[in-house]
Structures are given as C-alpha cells and as structure tokens.
C-alpha cells in the first residue's frame, strides 16, 4: 500500500505553556485529497496550507487547543481513500477529515466517518447527494455542490435567453448528477434540453462531440464535466468556432486554476459559478496574498478557501464545546453561526449543508485583466437560500418533515 503520509506538525511548543486553560485538547486533522492528479492544483497541498492558516488565525495554541495536521493522497480512487480514512481513524487517532474532492471518494469517506463517529468537513466534492440521500450527522458539506452550480450557471444562462441546451456529459456519477441537476433547473425556468452526449472519462479529443452539439442548434452547450475534460472541451470549442457561431458555452464546474490553465484568450466570456474568488474584498485579498506566499504564488481556489473556513469553524465549535466529542462539536457547529473573512456570515444546516451566497462570474477579456490570477468579474450574487436545495425538497433523512 502506497500511503504517502506527510506529517506536518503545527505545534507551538512555547505558546502551549500558556496557563490560560487548565484543560488541554489535542486535535489531529487529516487533509485527504488529490496530491498528484487532475485535482492536485485546485486542492492538494494548497488545502493543507489553508488548514494550517486556519489554525494560526484561530490562535489555537493560546486557547489550549493543540492541533496537528496530517495529509495524504487519495489518487481520486475510492478504495485508496477508504483505506487511508480507516487507518487514520483506527490507528492514527485522526479526529476529522477535511477536503476530499472527487464525489465517489467523498461518498466513501462520508460513510466511514459515520461508522467511526468522527467528523468530515467536505470542501472539494461536488455531488449534492452528500447532503441529500447520503447525508450523515457527521458530515458538513462546505463549499459548493452540483445543485448550487446548476442554479447559478444554469439559471443565469436561461434567464439571459439561453433556453435550449445540449449537454456534453462526463460518463460517470458526477457528470450524470451535474447534468440531472442542471437539466432540472433549465426545464423549471422554461428552457428545454434538446440532447446530450455521454463522453468517455477522461477524454482528450472532444471535437466530435462538439460538432454534434453544434449540429443540435442548441443555444447553450452545457459542459457537465471537470478538470482536464473541461479544459479540452473549451479549448476545442474555440478552435471549431462554436462560440463565434453564436452558441454559448456553460462551464458547469470551472475552477480558478482551470481558467489559469486555459489562458484568458481562450476562456474569455465564460460564465461560471463559484462560492469564493480571491479578489472580492480587502479581507479576501489580504488572505489570498498570505496564501499565495506559502503556495508558490498561486492564488487560492474556492476549495482551498473552504478548507480554511471549515477548519476555523470546527475549532470555534471545539472551543465552545470544550471537548472534541464528535456529537458535541457537530451540535455546536450547527448551532453557532459561521463567520470568517472569506465567506462572510453563514450557517450550517441540519442536513450538513453549509449555507452561504454563491457568485456568478464572467471570465475577463485579456485586455481587462491586470495580470496573472486577475480573471473574474462578478455578474451577480445568488443568495444562499436560492443557491442550495431547500430543506422542503430534501431527501435527507435527518430533515424532519
């Protein structure tokens, strides 16, 4: 078993001597994500840095809480992720697992966390099932989900006149979920779906599928895929004159690092939904600068920001509960409002859904950008209540109807 565990001890030995609290609580947090593949740039080491920054900003040591952070690479494989999660919980004394991009791995870790009665704060995964039919009293889904992405990008495109859709869907669970959630929004808003093509995952050449989408005459081509698939399809759509021909591309899951990889010349005009952008206000800019210094100049993605925010709220809950008992901490996390410089004020709902506003962004033209990482302009704000699935429609057994 190739278990790469990078131990990162954040022990402020000197400060720990502070006699403020009689009781010491030690916490071990595991950041489990992709450190070598497709999603390594948008989560990876950056998420570990974000978690560490949360510990610093909370001044955990002064408050008598000792935090150790460990990390590992789940390689986007559910079996690898499950093994690491079990080892962490059973042998290494890990109290909570953070991040976990890739829905299939997240669903597995969600299940194990529930069995072991620990805590999982998910930032990286997309599937809305984490707070839907797979919801758990031990999981908080922090940053975004497929429902919010569909509401944001899907809803906005239909309102802007894009009332007929054709989907390019990555042929696995995540792609299907994203297509399903978006198609529902499109139809609800009076649009129609004229067709869809299931593309093998991962793919390199999308020109054939793009030509099929072009032939469908749909006004919007919805890209229900992620990472390299999205990058390749956007790049090739530009090449085949799809956007120039009047059809619009809807990138249903596009991260800041994807735009960085595409370059503005190719990505300009793309509309996308995110819950965090570093250049939103003074607080996010200041935080992003600190983050970039530690991360080789790369600005944070919403996933990394979500790890910070989730870790911070967890620590506040531990402080309030004066214990790291999972049930007590989860109760505090849901009871206390969330508040941090990155996502502002929010709350954690009974089904584990973290509630905050989502933003609709448009990618800038090269001329509008002041330099690397200056990529988005804000189109609109989607209030939390609209962005996420209402409790009334929830499939989560924790929600009492």
């Amino acid at each position: 078993m190739k278990l790469k565990t990078f131990l990162t001890t954040t022990a402020f030995a000197a400060l720990m001597a502070a006699p403020a609290l009689a009781q010491q609580i030690s916490i071990k947090a595991g950041v489990l994500n992709d450190r070598s593949g497709l999603y390594a740039d948008l989560s990876g080491e950056g998420s570990v840095i974000a978690a560490r920054m949360a510990v610093e900003d909370f001044k955990a040591a002064e408050k008598g809480i000792k935090v150790e952070i460990v990390s590992a690479d789940h390689q986007n494989k559910p079996d690898v992720g499950s093994t690491i999660a079990r080892t962490w919980y059973d042998q290494d004394g890990v109290d909570l697992i953070l991040d976990v991009p890739t829905s299939s791995v997240a669903l597995a870790v969600n299940q194990i966390t529930r069995e072991k009665n620990k805590i999982h704060i998910n930032s990286g995964a997309a599937s809305s099932d984490l707070t839907g039919k797979a919801c758990s009293p031990n999981t908080v889904h922090w940053t975004y989900d497929t429902y919010a992405l569909a509401q944001g990008t899907g809803g906005a495109m239909v309102k802007a006149g894009g009332d007929s859709w054709y989907f390019l869907t990555a042929d696995y669970a995540f792609g299907h979920a994203l297509e399903r959630d978006t198609a529902a929004i499109v139809t609800k808003n009076g649009g129609k779906v004229v067709g869809a093509v299931r593309t093998p995952f991962p793919g390199t050449d999308f020109s054939s599928f793009l030509l099929q989408a072009q032939a469908s005459k749909a006004k919007v081509i919805g890209l229900a895929n992620a990472g390299g698939d999205t990058i390749n399809s956007i790049k090739q759509a530009g090449e085949f004159g799809i956007v120039a021909g009047g059809q619009k591309l809807a990138g249903l899951l596009v991260f800041l690092t994807d735009v960085h990889s595409l370059g503005l010349a190719t990505a300009q005009g793309l509309v996308l939904t995110e819950s965090f952008y570093w250049d939103t206000n003074d607080q996010t800019r200041a935080w992003a600068d600190r983050f970039a210094k530690a991360n080789g100049g790369k600005k944070p993605t919403m996933v990394q920001a979500g790890v910070y925010s989730g870790m911070l709220h967890y620590l506040k809950a531990v402080e309030a509960a004066k214990s790291k008992d999972s049930a007590a901490v989860m109760a505090k996390m849901k009871e206390m409002p969330t508040d941090d410089p990155l996502f502002g004020k929010g709350s954690v709902r009974v089904d584990g859904r973290k509630m905050h506003d989502m933003y609709l962004f448009e990618v800038k033209k090269p001329a509008e950008s002041k330099g690397p990482w200056d990529y988005y302009k804000q189109v609109s704000v989607l209030p939390a209540a609209q962005a996420f699935r209402p409790l009334a429609e929830s499939e989560c057994p924790l929600v009492k109807k």
């Binding site: 390594a40 093998p200 793919g203 021909g245």
Partner: protein, 295 residues
C-alpha cells in the same frame, strides 16, 4: 439525400475527417514506438512522457525564450530527441542484452519520474498554448467547419510518416537499419557502427513523440499527464498494426482514428473501448498483428 442510421451524411463526413485528424496523432506516436521496437526490441513506455515533453518544450520556448510555434516545431523534437539519446546511452544500453521486461520496467519508471518532475514544477492542471496566428480560424467545407490548424496537423503528420517510411524502406541508411534489426552481429561485421545506429534510432523515435507533442500543444490541454492518457491507446494501435511494422503503424494509426471517430457518432459511450475490442479481435485472428510477421 440518404441517411445512415439516423445520421445525416454531412455530419458523417465531418466525423470521418475528425477521425483522420485524431488518427494522425496515433500514427506519429505509434510510428515512433514501432521504429524503436523494431531495432532496439524495447517497448518504450516513456513515449507518452516524451510526447508530453514535446508540448512543454514548445511552451517553454514561447514563454521563456519568445520562440514561436514554427521554430519550436523543429527545436522541440531536437531537444526531446537529445534527452532520448542521453537515456539510451546512459541507461538502455546497459540492459540491451537482458530480457525485454527490464527495458519495459525501466522505461515505465522513467515515465513516472518525468511526469512527477513536470507536475512538481508546473502543477497538474496544465498550461495555456495558443494556436499560431497564421493558422487561426478555418474554412467552411459545407458539411463542417474545418479549423486550419486541424488541416495542418493531418498534412504535417502525413508528410512526417511518409518521409519516415521512405527513409527506412527506400534509402541506404534504412537498409543498414533493417539489416541491423535482422542480425546486428553480422551487420557490425560489415563495418557498420550498429551501437551508433541504435542510439540514433532511439533518438529519432523519441523526437517523433516530441514532434507530436508540439502539434498537440495548441489543441489539447498541456499538462504532465497528457501522454499517459494517450499512450495506452497508442500501444493498442502498435499491437494491432503488428509490433515493429512501420507501414502497419501508419495505416493502423489513421484507420483506428477513423473507427474511433465513427464510434463517437453511433455509440459515444464505447468510443474509449472500441480500439481495445478491435485489438482483441485482431489478436485472436492474427496474433502477430495486421502487418506483422509471425516470429
């Protein structure tokens, strides 16, 4: 007019053309593999990583040195080929006399190391590379919009493939090469420097991968895993064509691109597997591949 299984002919022509375009990448890459296997008897698992290096060298040329696409198209294969020569002289040469498997393991390990190094330096999500200004836009063929760049890819790879075939099958140098493949000891006895020939051949095969990488940079995502995603298919192409067969690699490369393109219209879900299904069928009927000679 007629319709074929519900697909209008216009759409079909478009897909046939796209299939040929993708086939050109398969052809160049499998050609390099076939040349290397033919002479060195090494299954070069580093090929995908070398293709990736080609794309990255093109990117570095542009961003660090301001060298444009056309120069990079010549320069990158030379640079990547030179690294190939170094690998051959330093490593592959030492295991030439032992079983195939060692070469396979060595090149596979090298591929992982190279990919890891690039990932460490450039991250995993890739780098932007624009289509050269001269080849932007395209032409409307009536049945489809053909980007100039795609047209260029087909032409460039056809020329390179045919030139390679000509070099190996019709020239004196090619004759030495084939002789050395057949019986290295005897060829050496005639005064031909076989070790040099081996080194240059490996360098050339690798340079072909680098060339394909530059061709791919403007249209595919330039990331450290780009070769790993493609190389499995290319191996299947080589096996179907017949290990070590030059013409086999070229013809199979283009025709499998075509088959894959058509599958994308009729049953897209199977387009990633269709090549492997063909591989199984071919191996059942002709174990040495379509153009291969039985050992």
């Amino acid at each position: 007019m007629f319709e074929l299984l519900g697909v209008p002919p216009q759409a079909l022509f478009g897909q046939v053309l796209l299939g040929l375009i993708n086939g050109s990448f398969y052809a160049i890459l499998s050609l390099g593999l076939a040349v290397i296997f033919g002479l060195l008897n090494i299954i070069n698992f580093t090929h995908g990583a070398q293709y990736m290096m080609g794309a990255f060298v093109a990117w570095m040329c542009l961003n660090y040195l301001g060298i444009n696409y056309w120069v990079a198209l010549l320069l990158a294969p030379l640079v990547v080929g030179a690294t190939g020569i170094a690998i051959e002289r330093l490593l592959l040469k030492r295991i030439a006399h032992v079983d195939h498997l060692y070469g396979l393991l060595l090149t596979f390990g090298l591929a992982l190391i190279i990919q890891g190094l690039f990932r460490n330096e450039f991250g995993s999500s890739g780098l932007p590379y624009q289509i050269p200004a001269e080849l932007r836009g395209g032409v409307n063929l009536g049945f489809m919009f053909l980007p100039w760049y795609r047209g260029w890819v087909v032409v460039a790879s056809l020329v390179v493939c045919l030139a390679t075939w000509f070099l190996i099958e019709k020239t004196r140098l090619g004759a030495y090469l084939r002789a050395a493949t057949e019986n290295p000891t005897l060829t050496q006895a005639f005064g031909i420097n076989v070790p040099l020939l081996v080194t240059l051949t490996y360098g050339f095969g690798v340079a072909l991968a680098g060339f394909a990488g530059v061709l791919a940079a403007p249209i595919y995502s330039v990331n450290p895993n780009m070769g790993a995603d493609l190389i499995i298919v290319v191996f299947a192409v080589v096996v179907i064509g017949g290990m070590g067969s030059i013409l086999g690699a070229i013809v199979t490369g283009f025709s499998l691109g075509l088959v894959e393109g058509l599958t994308k219209v009729f049953y897209p879900e199977a387009s990633a597997t269709v090549i492997f299904i063909i591989m199984v069928l071919v191996l059942l009927v002709r174990p040495a591949g379509l153009f291969g000679r039985a050992a």
